[in-house]
């Protein structure tokens, strides 16, 4: 399709009509591909009609070679005609995220928690929570989430990353919401800030963290929990490496004998390779 040698060259209007006949049909997508690795580019073809998938593919760099004086007009016509028909122009590489998010929305699973916090937290935190709930949904469905987590961190820094971790561990439903409903607003806000910003309530172990670093973080967390007068805090880990790191630390702490200021309890889910230690402060 769209090869120079196989047919008489169409005029600009004839070519546009060829395109229109396809993209005016229901559910037809126009894919604009200029990458030198794209099949059209490699074949030196400027368009292809994938009838089965209903995709009209256009390769602008090759179109430019074939129609050097008219390619701009042709592209403008194709793009604006489709755009003006109230459609969306979207980056191909992010289409799967859009589709995944649209599916997630249909489940309605997070609607209630977002509605609850939408007028109680700062706007940025609400957005970080929205993103985190989707990330949790994807993670629970065994999808890759590193790009999504990156987006949260880029947008909202370490605070956002911590919100993502707390959300994944159920803190918003199981701790923040009940707390909001049971204490004065000011007290809730102080506690929330201590947990989200100061990370006083939970530590999420990551793969780059060895036992020595975890030990340092543990005692830092213990000090913070004492400072903010928290009754307990938790150490969370997911995946074999993180689970083993946490177990190694707590075995060491166990061997070091009973401690005056804390005691701990394990909660492990071997099926999904997840571990959590609840550390209770004494006195």
């Amino acid at each position: 399709m769209g090869r120079k040698k196989s047919r008489k060259k169409q005029s600009k209007e004839e070519l546009l009509e060829t395109f229109r006949k396809r993209y005016k049909r229901r559910d037809v997508i126009v894919s604009i591909e200029s990458s030198q690795n794209s099949s059209l580019f490699l074949r030196q073809s400027f368009f292809s009609w994938e009838k089965k998938d209903k995709i009209l593919i256009i390769c602008p760099p090759i179109l430019k070679k074939e129609y050097p004086d008219e390619y701009e007009d042709i592209m403008k016509e194709v793009i604006t005609e489709n755009f003006n028909d109230d459609h969306l122009i979207f980056k191909h590489s992010k289409k799967s995220i859009l589709e995944a998010y649209s599916s997630y929305k249909l489940t309605g699973t997070s609607k209630e928690i977002i509605e609850f916090f939408s007028d109680k937290l700062h706007g940025d935190d609400v957005n970080a929570l929205r993103m985190s709930l989707f990330l949790r949904y994807q993670s629970n469905n065994n999808k890759r989430v590193d790009i999504l987590k990156n987006d949260i961190r880029e947008k909202y820094g370490e605070r956002g990353a911590n919100i993502a971790n707390l959300c994944s561990a159920g803190y918003f439903e199981n701790e923040f919401k009940p707390l909001y409903n049971s204490v004065p607003r000011k007290e809730f806000e102080e506690y929330y800030e201590a947990v989200v910003e100061k990370k006083a309530r939970a530590l999420f172990v990551h793969a780059q963290m060895g036992v020595e670093e975890l030990r340092r973080e543990f005692f830092r967390l213990l000090d913070r929990a004492k400072k903010y007068r928290l009754k307990d805090f938790r150490i969370h880990g997911k995946g074999e490496v993180n689970v083993n790191t946490i177990k190694a630390l707590f075995n060491e702490l166990k061997e070091e004998g009973p401690h005056d200021d804390f005691e701990f309890e394990k909660n492990e889910n071997t099926k999904i390779q997840m571990i959590e230690y609840e550390v209770k402060l004494i006195n």
Binding site: S35, P60, H87, L88, I89, F90, K91, H92, K94, D151
Partner: protein, 81 residues
């Protein structure tokens, strides 16, 4: 296909200049999307400049340009733009 929510046109990163051209936009020397005529940067609904490599979508509503990050995609799908 849901108008305004399901993509009608998809583009790869290499096609970004052609997409922008159709809307009388271009990329400046710093890689930022600008208006061809005035040189003014094109802004997202949040008021942010858009680096061409982070350009994500255009939605009807008098040409709403968005980035390709997760929050922008979510806001698009939620009809916040």
């Amino acid at each position: 296909m849901i108008k305004g929510k399901t993509p009608k046109i998809l583009f790869d990163e290499a096609s970004i200049p052609y997409i922008l051209e159709a809307f009388d936009k271009e990329i400046d020397e710093d890689g930022i999307i600008i208006e061809k005529e005035t040189g003014d940067p094109v802004l997202t609904p949040e008021g942010e400049e858009i680096e061409a490599k982070n350009f994500g979508a255009i939605k009807k509503g008098s040409e709403i340009f968005t980035k390709d990050d997760l929050l922008s995609i979510m806001n698009l799908a939620d009809g916040k733009y």
